[in-house]
Symmetry: C2
Subunit: 156 residues, 2 copies
DNA sequence: TATTGTTATACTCTATAACTATA
DNA sequence: TATAGTTATAGAGTATAACAATA
């Protein structure tokens, strides 16, 4: 299951000076997230999920049943225009249903179907395992600190 | 200069439970890096750089004069096929020159032009300032720890 | 007037395959 | 046979504008 992406990345045995990039937190976060997202995307394929975004959407609906598209859009920092197609695709694949909002006829409340609930639960286990594997080089306390630091950088 | 991206992101005042995503280091790294990369991309526009990748390429050449495309490709985890167009574009814009490799006629050694050196130096100051602004909520020691943790996640 | 959600569209990023010239 | 670099191409991801229906 080792991809070209991983093979290419790990064959970096040369002596290039990358220090001027590696002092940037943004650069390091981008490089690290690419590794994690790529690994997750591959593992989610067998559940019929096209990528981490599908997983994020299903997971927020699972834990916030009845959430609207606008709420999802803000919570995930996705533009409504892009979320629209993702939600439609997940509905077409039978993972979620849209129900009329009780007080706002412009909006829909989103719920997972039975299949969606099963897929999300399986995918959540895979995502957690992938993340643990990805970060296994760090100790538990280091992972905890890292997560708190990252959260502060985008949630403030 | 505040973009739709920032406006949309910061208007998240609702009470959605995102905890099941926020426990994933990969998710938080992705979210944080998106903020940093978006901010940097906007600031680099005035130097004629199309984005963080242009900046990464110029910066590695600046600090590794004579580097080849394959070395760049491995150092930045970019596929050679994608790097090819980026290097050509930077050459067309007068930022770098390609010189014949002394012992391998398949390869080119990359150098910055005078203009490229100027632009890279200005852009490096901008990138460092952008990163400091992006991470200003963290203390110096927190930023240092964060950077070491992230580096371990992709450089091992 | 403002907001929810949609369609259309464009641009960037990532990835694979096939190719040439050379090692 | 393998490697450096290129072209072509396809699929995600990201961003803007314009719109219909409703608040």
């Amino acid at each position: 299951m080792s991809s070209n992406f991983e093979a290419h990345r790990k064959s970096n045995t040369n002596s290039v000076d990358s220090s001027s990039l590696e002092l940037l937190i943004g650069y390091n976060a981008k490089r690290a997230s690419s590794v994690a997202m790529h690994g997750l995307a591959i593992k989610l394929q067998k559940y019929g999920l096209q990528g981490p975004i599908d997983y994020s959407v299903l997971t927020l609906i699972a834990h916030n049943s009845g959430i609207t598209s606008m709420q999802l859009s803000h919570a995930l920092s996705l533009f409504p225009a892009n979320l629209s197609g993702i939600v439609k695709s997940l509905e077409d694949r039978g993972f979620l249903s849209r129900q009329q909002h009780p007080t706002d006829r412009r909006a829909y409340r989103l719920h997972l179907t039975e299949i969606g609930l099963e897929v999300q639960a399986d995918a959540e286990a895979v995502a957690i395992k992938n993340d643990a594997e990805f970060a296994k080089i760090l100790s538990e306390s280091e992972r905890s600190m890292l997560n708190q630091f990252l959260l502060k950088l985008y949630a403030s």
